[in-house]
Symmetry: C2
Subunit: 196 residues, 2 copies
């Protein structure tokens, strides 16, 4: 019986495997509850792992959070052309949940903001990468500011929809939202494609 199968079916001793279990569980719980309200005990329990291992492999809850944030989000940034990034990210946030493989970094951001200053700093990193790409969509000399404003709208929509659950936004059709937002952003980012 190969190692991989054994590790998946029963509790074998596999450091890399349990590390990944912890990362997956942490990613889910951070997205659902935010940094503060996701306790190390809950994360270890969802991973089906003793909580002491969490500290053996990551040292600190904050370090675990850092690894979670570093793991996700970057593929979307690299694989999406700049002029489509806003719409792709917006639709990803509007989809909510999705499969276990989907990137929930932005959701983690939203729910963890306000937790502590170090967390806000970690989030600024991801924000910088997004805003940098969005900034290229404007030829104005304050393109960076315009990119920040677009990103702010993206986060605000996620905030109202996913975290607050404000109606009618929370129940609105993603296509409708996309059309309205992308249309209004045309005044800000001239190189944003208007066709849905």
């Amino acid at each position: 019986m190969p190692e991989a199968i054994k590790a998946a079916t029963e509790h074998r001793r596999d450091a890399q495997g349990t590390r990944r279990l912890l990362l997956d569980a942490a990613s889910e719980l951070f997205a659902e509850r935010g940094y503060e309200r996701a306790t190390v005990r809950d994360i270890a329990a969802r991973a089906g792992v003793n909580q002491a291992l969490l500290f053996r492999y990551f040292g600190t809850k904050k370090a675990l959070f850092g690894e979670v944030m570093a793991r996700g989000g970057h593929e979307q940034l690299r694989t999406t052309p700049a002029e489509r990034l806003f719409e792709v990210a917006l639709r990803g946030m509007l989809a909510e949940g999705g499969g276990p493989g989907t990137d929930r970094s932005l959701e983690v951001c939203l729910r963890s903001i306000g937790g502590s200053d170090e967390i806000a700093e970690a989030l600024r990193g991801l924000g910088d990468e997004y805003a940098e790409v969005l900034a290229t969509l404007s030829r104005a000399d304050d393109g960076a500011l315009r990119g920040d404003l677009a990103l702010a709208w993206l986060l605000g929509i996620g905030l109202m929809r996913v975290v607050v659950g404000k109606e009618p936004l929370a129940g609105a059709d993603p296509d409708t939202i996309c059309r309205l937002v992308v249309g209004a952003l045309g005044a800000l980012l001239e190189d944003m494609p208007q066709g849905s």
Copy 2:
């Protein structure tokens, strides 16, 4: 010596006075740290009051939060004409801090989101009132959704600026931000005045 003066200058026994001291201190700390990270001990300490009184007068930390949220924010809503509400609220958020009398409800919202589901529900109340007014600025039949989107942008900008501190947004001139945002919103809310 009248009671009011005595209460202000020294520690007299004045239930209404200490109640107000607690409300003021709670408003400040909730705005600075959010709901979870503002502890009842810190609130009582800033008010210069024993923490047991906090529970005598409000019963629960959550109830205190409710009173703080109910107290502020509504004047701005009632005294501002609809077509100016967005810009006034945006400028209020961009001002950051301000005098002790300024309304920091939106800041409290931003920093407390993700704290708990009950908090999110309390915030939805304030959001509903703002969005309802903003919805009147569009003659489209999905005006309510457009109002939500405008409010989302408002909150998103506050999030990036006040909580995350993302540059260049955090250091940008409020007038510039207002001009860019209000201009872009013209496509969404037809009755939004474009002149700054």
